[in-house]
Symmetry: C2
Subunit: 208 residues, 2 copies
DNA sequence: GATTTAACTTACCGCTCGGTAAGTTATTTA
DNA sequence: TAAATAACTTACCGAGCGGTAAGTTAAATC
């Protein structure tokens, strides 16, 4: 084993602990929200002490930011996948499905992207606002494409329609997670597209 | 001044203090959410002591329930107003407008109706779930009416469409309150109806 | 084999939390 | 005028919070 390999292994272990912390923190924040999780909660679930967390991170808010960042990256990847579909319809369908699946999986964390936190966490709020904007910019192109294709440009601007769509999805996620109901993302994405984009010409509005 | 009048006056004072507590608590919970507000916060804003709160109420969760109840009653009244409109279109328009206006005013409290709280507040969660259901039952009849009128029964069931509409509105409210943007409820309600219900027959989709 | 360092643990800090027991004060009631 | 009561305040409780300083231990380095 070379020195470089040893260094690599060591870094892996460090990375592993840090990653495990973020991972567990993610689960807890996702379930109980920022204010509902204490540093002790995280430490206990990892069978380490609270002080160990402060060895790896500067504080609770840093851990939360790292968690949010990870969630955002994963969501971005899921959204990006939708762009690989060939038709606009399929892109939008996949976008909605992936967003819903992701949001359902992460429960409170996708909520976190919309929630006002306690007043002392202004920096976290600012951070979340930035992430929200970026998500919107990821989604908007597909909406624009759809609007152009369906020739409904005059009625709504893509900005509002994007808000309405994400709002719709966020709201649905909140409802389902609140009631602990499973989400049939495929069926719902079909319905949403039906409602949002398809003209009602007596029967031929099947999407796929 | 008769005895009865005196009793009445006394009750008014009691009611007044209790009402003032609920009122201030409502503002604070609305701004910072349940976990973000302490009993001391409420007391300080009223220039009384925390212990005084415990004289009037059994605890924090009772105050919160009372606040939620008040919010729910006001929302119910606003929704009920929409039923007085004559046409289905106008009913729906007013419903959406009132819901948005109300939600924007109450900010986090309408959010509270969709948020999972910390795990120790199971009773509050149960209470909130009940309130949410009741709101849905208030809205659904108008949706049903609209579906029948627009003859789009086969495509979506009123249940899902109600969820989508409330989800849409809740999501929008979250976004606007998060970004501290003002909401143009009239314009948006028009757009939502446009998107959800009006057929896209090349140009004649103006609602009103 | 001594020293250093990474990765922790133990033991504490000051603070705030929700909640309570006991005292105070002004007003009614008997 | 004495007793009772409503509407509080003062002063505290134990628990938990985010965070830290100092000690421990096993492995790596010199």
């Amino acid at each position: 084993m070379t020195i470089i390999e040893k260094q690599q292994e060591q870094e892996d272990i460090i990375q592993n602990t840090k990653t495990r912390i973020i991972d567990v923190a993610c689960q807890l924040f996702s379930e109980y929200s920022y204010l509902g999780v204490s540093m002790n909660d995280i430490a206990k679930k990892l069978n380490i002490t609270k002080a160990a967390l402060y060895y790896h991170f500067t504080g609770k808010s840093e851990i939360y930011k790292k968690v949010l960042n990870g969630v955002f990256n994963n969501l971005s990847l899921d959204i990006a996948k939708a762009f690989k579909e060939k038709t606009t319809n399929k892109k939008l369908h996949k976008l909605i499905k992936n967003y819903l699946d992701f949001g359902f999986k992460e429960k409170n964390l996708i909520k976190a992207l919309m929630l006002k936190l306690s007043p002392d966490n202004l920096q976290i709020r600012t951070y979340i606002i930035q992430l929200r904007k970026e998500i919107k910019y990821l989604i908007q192109p597909i909406i624009k494409e759809m609007i152009v294709k369906k020739e409904i440009t005059k009625k709504v601007d893509s900005h509002l329609l994007t808000s309405l769509l994400t709002g719709m999805m966020d709201g649905l996620l909140l409802e389902y997670s609140f009631l602990n109901k499973k989400i049939d993302s495929k069926k719902i994405s079909n319905q949403i597209i039906n409602i949002l984009f398809l003209k009602n010409k007596k029967g031929n509005n099947k999407c796929f």
